[in-house]
Each structure stands twice: as structure tokens, then as C-alpha cells.
């Protein structure tokens, strides 16, 4: 175990850029896998924030866009292995959806290195650690994700119509 700690993450080492990673995981396999990494006291970078879903089938691609927009530099989506879905086939629907969605992201020019899809079972604490570490390292090298943050700024500008003055004007029309 100590060998793994040394190779995957050197504690205390400061980096110029610490990326934000959001993980969308299903509760039955990957969330439990991440729990196992915890109970086994494995170590990994503190950059990941886990969002729990009942099933990867519930994960709307819009959430991934939203995450990037809100400042995530990397997104991880992970659920049960094919055939192991707690809900029979949710992960198959997710797989199809994300296969198409990846293409779309590629088309609009998102570096797919920032997005990772994977299967992590409840027994694969080690795989979870490896995956989070690799993705963090990769995104660290890629630097901050700017494109969508700019979009978010634009949205804020358009949000200005909510001022009381403007509302009054709108109401009077």
C-alpha cells in the first residue's frame, strides 16, 4: 500500500495549479468503490468532488456542461460495469448517451482529456484511486479550463436584466 502512495500521489507537494474535478458516480458501484478506497486508507489528490446519483442512467449530459461552466477543469463519470447495473440496464443507456455526447464535445472543440468515463465496481477502491489520480495529473498539465467559464460570464451579463430598474421598464411596456 505504501508503494502505491508513493507512486500515485506525493503528499505535501505544492503545484502551481490545482484543478477542480467533479465526479458523477452511481451510488451502487462507484460511490461504494470510493468508500472502499476510504476504508482501505488509500491516498489520492484532494481535487475531486463526488456527486452521487442513483444510477449513471440518471446523469444528464447537461450536468457535464454545467460542471465545466461552473469552473470544473475535469469531469469524471463512472458507474457499474456493463451487466452489473443495479437497475438492470441504466449504465447501458448512459454508455450510449455519452458515446454520442463525447462526439459532440469533440466537435465543439473541448479537449476530451478533461472528461473521463469509466466503470468502477464497489470492489475496485484501487481503480478509483488510480483513475482520480491520473485524471488530476492530466488536467493539472492541461491547465485551467477557460472556454466554458467565459460562457458563464456572458450568462452573468445577460442576467443584468434582472435589475429592478429594467424590470420596471419591462413591466411598463
Amino acid at each position: 500500500m505504501t508503494g502505491r502512495n508513493e507512486t500515485v500521489h506525493t503528499e505535501g507537494q505544492k503545484h502551481a495549479f490545482e484543478p477542480k474535478i467533479i465526479a458523477f458516480v452511481c451510488t451502487w458501484c462507484t460511490y461504494a468503490g470510493a468508500d472502499l478506497a476510504g476504508t482501505s486508507r488509500m491516498q489520492y489528490p484532494a481535487n475531486v468532488r463526488v456527486l452521487k446519483f442513483p444510477c449513471t442512467g440518471r446523469i444528464d449530459p447537461v450536468f457535464i456542461l454545467k460542471a465545466f461552466q461552473q469552473g470544473a477543469d475535469g469531469v469524471l463519470v463512472s458507474g457499474c460495469h456493463p451487466g452489473d447495473c443495479h437497475y438492470i440496464a441504466g449504465n447501458f443507456h448512459a454508455r450510449r448517451r455519452f458515446a454520442a455526447f463525447r462526439k459532440l464535445l469533440e466537435f465543439v472543440g473541448i479537449d476530451l482529456g478533461r472528461l473521463q468515463f469509466s466503470w468502477v465496481s464497489a470492489a475496485e477502491g484501487g481503480k478509483w484511486v488510480e483513475m482520480v489520480t491520473d485524471l488530476t495529473e492530466r488536467v493539472r498539465h492541461m491547465g485551467p479550463m477557460q472556454e466554458f467559464k467565459e460562457l458563464a460570464l456572458e450568462e452573468q451579463w445577460s442576467g443584468v436584466i434582472d435589475t429592478p430598474e429594467l424590470k420596471e421598464v419591462y413591466n411598463s411596456i
Binding site: K20, D35, A37, T39, Q43, P54, G57, R58, A89, G90
Partner: protein, 665 residues
């Protein structure tokens, strides 16, 4: 405005060692909407929960976030505590700062920062949580059992003995299934009929069991606790209430040349018949396809000789609707038949083994009938072709099974043991005979199973040859069996008098059609799929439907009986309550937005999405929208991610809640 209470747990030192819990509590306390935040050594302990309840009441908290271990560990604990303090349990969320934070990081600064963010995310989420009422579904405490073999009988008796009504539906004119056909059973060699028939009689006499034989499932509607099952009771042509079972009709029937399917076509039976003498019910049925009266209109002997006047040629199929709360499927198996290969079947067949062409090449079940004391030969092992006793007999195992190239890759599980039994029965009946067995592997896991198999070799003188048979052909009145003994590496040729094929165990014909009626899933061989191969082996993914016996996969009698009792126990668990309570994590349709595309219906793995008509006051149809049956919904949320108009929402995981979490980053 929400008044959120945040409780940070030290978990002894498990969390506080790496996370500065006081700082987390202080920092989180400044978030908008947070009215109270504190930290405590052990939140899950009694005083910890007391603290939580007291704070809810004193601080008039509207929502609660407990930052502690994984929700998989203590979510239930805290939701219960919250509920006892008068809040809806679904207004409580857990932030996982142990497994996902303090245990996986060493840097105190980093871990504390992460913990603050995790708790902040959950605070934003919980603000959007809604009050969710527990869903209750009424339960009809009656159960349907499909299939009257040993699996169905065991399940029906177990449920009925607990005092609940059972509707048992059997396709054949009598219950008993395959077990009634067997001669002796491994590994004890007790007579199958001797242990089976008393159970059949128990079923017939049980006041809580309603038995439909010669009946099939026509249609199934509803969901767990509330199924409406339509049973087609086929016309028996004999009034069950009047018939005394005297059997005069059968002896007088002039048509006596119909192959007896119960005896694997070895014997003959009349057109009005009971499948076997110990049949339950002992009421004959007229085989209308072969009856002279039905074919030509002439005859009518059975009606004339019937004292009580039970024979009724005018009888018609009856459709009966039975309300039940649970269904046990126990439709059993059939033997793979080389001769009748169903059209479109992926199975290629074994032309080279001559089954169906050479009369003395039979399958295992036919051998059972030959060996059975109540069989067509009275228990004597005789060749179907000339009635002579075979002196050299060859058993071939794994015919069909474990042959990927032929279309079946699974092991049929029972053949190793029943072939060993057959060699013993043969040796007991034909003392000067010799049995040979061609086998790939002997698979004998089970109590006293390996000892039994060894006995067939060491005491009953069966010769086991490891290797497969390549070809067999008729030569005079002998069957020449050619194969290889791979243990010694030589070719073997045996001139046999009879060959018995251990053909593969397959699901019953029509297993797929029944599965579609029930809305349960099946594998590529049409064996029914259990909800979880290890932890839910008797439940279907469809709630309220349970599996027993070989319809789920090849099984021997002990395994079948165990599974049947397990299925009955599951039914009893369901019936233990008057109302079903379930987590309200279910999808709901926003009808105003629904455009009726029914993509949700296509992706729903539970078949929970129904069509609902929306009508105006005049009764004109406005539109058809989706409706999610909360009793059936499994709560995966695939429908929500699929819905193009965002009109279906999974309670507890709404877009609002998730976006709130993402925005809290």
C-alpha cells in the same frame, strides 16, 4: 427561508485527525440559510442523535446536513433521528467527509478545505430537498404459483401453510411435473413417486390452495401487491365436480393407440385419460385432437358409460380473473430434444447421435420411465425396438450441454449425477450387463454426491471413459458407438444394445412468451433472470415476482426445493405487512410538459411507465401522457435523463438539487 442545521462529526479521531472540524463548523455556519452548526465527537451515538433532535426542536430547523461518514453507513440512522424529531426524513442529507475526505488525504489544510466544500455542496442541495411522503401500496395477500412441479408444489404448500391463499396453475392435466416421471432419485435412491405423491395429495387437500390444472396464464396486469391474473382453464370435457375418478371411461374408450407422452411415447393411452395413475386431480381429460367423437362426431362411449354423467363434450375454455399480490414462477425445464429442433432455434442438433432415428437411442427421461416400477415396462430395462434386455449399454453425457458450437454453452448440472444413478439402476436390474459412460468431466458438487458417483464406478462396475463420442450407427441389431478415450489416448468402439443420451436441460417451451406476459427478463437460453445472481437469487427484477426451480437455471431436486421455499419466504415477507412501504425515490411526470413521446417507456427497465389519457370536461381526448406507477418504479432516473422535454423528475435527485450542488463548487 430555510433554517439549516449542520452537524459535523469527529468520528472519534477518524475525521478530526485530518479535518479541522471546528473550522468547518464555523465556516459552514456563515453560509446563507444555515441557522445552526456544531461539531460533536460521535454524531451517530445516542447522545449525538439526542443533540441533533434537540437542535431541530430548539432551533426550529427546517433541514439537516450531517457531515460524517458515508451515507451508505448512517443515512438511515440520521433520517430516522430527524423523523423522530418531527421533520420529514428526506430533508436530511449526509456529507461524506470520512471515506471521501479524512481517510484519503493527509494534508490537514487540503482536507479541511475539501470538507468545507463537500458540506457546502450538501447545504445547497438540501435547500432544494422536498418533503417526500413514504409511498404505501396495498397488498393482496394471495399468491399465484405458476407450475405444479416440485418447485411449485413446495412453494404453494409453504405459503398456504402460513395461512395465505394460493392459486396454483398447472399446464398439464395433473400436477407432479418431471419429478413424478422419475424412477429413483440421487443420491439416496429413494423412489421419486413415494416422496412426491404425498405432496401432490397435500396440495389437492389443502384448504388454502386453489388448484387449476390443464390451465395456462392468459394475461397479467398490475404490479407488486396488486396483480390481476387471467387464467385460461382449458376445456377438460369432464366436469371436475361430478367425476368420481372411477376410470371406467378410460377402460371403455375404443381409441387406445395414442402415444403416452408421460411415458415418453413408450406406452399407449386412450383418448380420455389421466397422465398417470396417481394423477392429482384424478379427473380425466379428453384429448380432443385424438378423440373419435371430436374428429368424426361418432362414438360417445365415455359419456354413455359414465355413471355420474360427468363427461361434457360441450365444455368450453373458461377465463378466470384472480387477484393476487405475489407471483412465484416455477415453470421448470424440458429436455433438449435432438429430433424436434424448434424452428429458428439457435441450437444446431446432433445428427450424428441418431436420436429419433435409431429406436434404441433414448434420452435420460425415457430411461427413467423404463426404470420406473409404474412405467410402461413395469420397471424392466427393455429395448424399445424389440423388448430385449440390453446387455451392453452406453451412456453419453453432455449431449447439448457445454457445447458452444452446438448452441448451448452452460452445464446442465444434473446429468453427471443422474447418469451415475442410471448405471446403478441398470446394474441392479441387469446383473450380467455392462454400462459404459462417455463423459467430459464428472461434476458432483453436493452433499454425498461425489461418494455416490464413486460408488457407481467402484461398486456398481460402471466403466467411465473420458472422451466424447464422435459417431454412432446401427449395425444389425447393435449400435456401434465410436469415441476416444483421451485419458489413455486410444480409439474406443463399443457394440451397444442401447444408448442413453444425457441431453441438455432447457427451459420449458413458451418460457419467453410467459416472461413477456409477466414482464420479467430472461437470458438468451430463455432461462428467467434473477434480480441479483448472488444476493437476490429468487427475486425477479420486477417487484413481486419470484423464481423457483429449473426455470431460472438447471437445478436438481434439493436445490429446487430450497429455492421454492426461499421464494415462499420472500412472498411471506411481502405479506407480513398490510401495506407496502417503499422509499419515495420514484419518478413523477409533469403532465403539462409531457408531449407523449414515450421515450421514457422505452428506456424504463421496470415497465413502470404507463399511458394516461388527459381529457377535457366534455370528455374529449386532449393528449396521452406518460404516467409512472410508483409501485413499480425502481428509482434509477434513466427516464429523466432521457426525456427530451424534461417532463419527468426523479424525486430526491431532481435537476434542481443536482444543479444546486454543481453551482456550489
Amino acid at each position: 427561508m430555510s433554517r439549516i442545521g449542520v452537524f459535523i462529526c469527529h468520528c472519534g479521531e477518524n475525521i478530526s485527525r485530518t479535518v479541522d472540524v471546528e473550522r468547518v463548523a464555523a465556516q459552514v455556519g456563515t453560509l446563507p440559510g444555515v441557522a445552526f452548526s456544531t461539531d460533536y465527537k460521535y454524531m451517530c451515538s445516542d447522545p449525538g442523535q439526542g443533540l441533533l433532535k434537540k437542535a431541530i426542536q430548539e432551533q426550529r430547523l427546517s433541514h439537516v446536513v450531517v457531515a460524517a461518514c458515508s451515507p451508505r453507513m448512517h443515512e438511515k440512522t440520521f433520517r430516522k433521528a430527524v423523523e423522530s424529531a418531527g421533520l420529514n426524513p428526506f430533508l436530511c442529507e449526509m456529507a461524506n467527509i470520512r471515506e471521501h475526505c479524512s481517510w484519503v488525504h493527509e494534508d490537514r489544510e487540503e482536507a479541511t478545505r475539501k470538507a468545507i466544500e463537500i458540506v457546502g455542496m450538501m447545504v445547497e442541495r438540501v435547500k432544494k430537498n422536498r418533503v417526500l411522503p413514504t409511498i404505501t401500496v396495498p397488498v393482496t395477500k394471495r399468491s399465484l404459483v405458476i407450475g405444479g412441479g416440485i418447485a411449485g408444489i413446495q412453494a404453494a404448500l409453504d405459503i398456504a401453510d402460513c395461512g395465505h391463499e394460493v392459486v396454483l396453475v398447472e399446464r398439464e392435466p395433473s400436477i407432479g411435473g418431471h419429478m413424478a416421471q422419475l424412477s429413483e432419485t440421487f443420491p439416496t435412491l429413494d423412489c421419486s413417486q413415494c416422496i412426491m405423491t404425498p405432496k401432490m395429495v397435500d396440495v389437492a387437500n389443502h384448504p388454502k390452495i386453489k388448484l387449476y390444472t390443464y390451465a395456462e396464464i392468459e394475461h397479467v396486469e398490475g404490479y407488486i401487491g396488486n396483480f390481476q391474473v387471467t387464467v385460461r382453464k382449458k376445456a377438460r370435457s369432464v366436469d371436475e365436480d361430478k367425476c368420481t375418478g372411477c376410470g371406467v371411461c378410460m377402460t371403455k374408450c375404443p381409441q387406445k393407440k395414442i402415444p403416452n407422452t408421460f411415458d415418453r411415447n413408450l406406452g399407449m393411452r386412450p383418448a380420455i385419460y389421466v397422465p398417470f395413475p396417481q394423477a392429482v386431480p384424478n379427473t380425466p381429460v379428453i384429448d380432443r385432437e385424438n378423440c373419435t367423437k371430436f374428429k368424426t362426431g361418432k362414438c360417445g362411449v365415455c359419456q354413455k358409460v359414465c355413471g355420474p354423467g360427468a363427461v361434457d363434450y360441450e365444455q368450453e375454455d373458461q377465463l378466470i380473473v384472480e387477484p393476487v399480490g405475489a407471483i412465484v414462477v416455477a415453470t421448470g425445464f424440458d429436455l433438449y430434444s435432438i429430433e424436434e429442433k424448434p424452428k429458428g432455434s439457435p441450437i444446431k442438433g446432433y445428427g450424428e447421435f441418431g436420436h429419433g432415428k435409431i429406436p434404441d437411442v433414448i434420452d435420460g427421461m425415457t430411461f427413467e420411465r423404463l426404470a420406473s416400477a409404474s412405467g410402461p415396462t413395469g420397471g424392466k430395462i427393455l429395448r424399445p425396438s424389440d423388448g430385449r434386455e440390453p446387455k451392453q449399454i452406453v451412456f453419453i453425457q453432455c449431449v447439448g450441454s457445454r457445447a458452444r458450437e452446438k448452441g448451448i454453452s452452460y452445464c446442465s448440472k444434473i446429468c453427471c449425477m443422474y447418469t451415475a444413478k442410471h448405471t446403478m439402476l441398470y446394474h441392479h436390474k441387469v446383473h450380467d450387463g455392462q454400462a459404459y459412460v462417455f463423459f467430459m468431466d464428472a461434476r458432483t458438487p453436493g452433499k454425498s454426491y461425489d461418494e455416490f458417483w464413486r460408488r457407481s464406478i467402484e461398486e456398481e462396475e460402471a466403466v467411465y471413459i473420458r472422451g466424447m463420442v464422435s459417431r454412432l450407427y446401427q449395425k444389425g441389431d447393435k449400435i456401434v458407438v465410436m469415441g476416444s478415450d483421451i485419458a489413455v489416448g486410444v480409439q474406443v468402439e463399443i457394440e451397444a444394445d442401447m444408448v442413453v443420451l444425457a441431453t441438455a436441460v432447457q427451459p420449458q417451451k413458451g418460457a419467453d412468451t410467459l416472461a413477456q406476459k409477466l414482464g420479467i427478463s430472461y437470458d438468451k437460453y430463455h432461462f428467467y433472470s434473477e434480480a441479483h445472481a448472488k444476493l437476490r437469487p429468487v427475486e425477479c427484477a420486477t417487484a413481486g415476482i419470484y423464481l423457483a426451480g429449473a426455470c431460472q437455471g438447471p437445478k436438481d431436486i434439493p436445490d429446487t426445493v430450497s429455492q421454492a421455499s426461499a421464494a415462499a419466504a420472500k412472498v411471506m415477507t411481502l405479506f407480513a405487512k398490510d401495506k407496502l412501504e417503499r422509499e419515495p425515490i420514484v419518478a413523477k411526470v409533469r403532465e403539462a410538459g409531457c408531449v407523449g413521446c414515450f421515450y421514457c417507456q422505452k428506456v424504463c427497465p421496470y415497465g413502470a411507465v404507463e399511458e394516461k389519457e388527459i381529457r377535457d370536461r366534455q370528455g374529449n381526448l386532449v393528449k396521452v401522457v406518460a404516467y409512472v406507477n410508483p409501485g413499480v418504479c425502481g428509482g434509477c432516473g434513466t427516464c429523466q435523463a432521457t426525456c427530451p422535454s424534461k417532463s419527468v423528475e426523479l424525486d430526491g435527485y431532481t435537476d434542481e438539487q443536482i444543479v444546486a450542488m454543481i453551482e456550489a463548487l
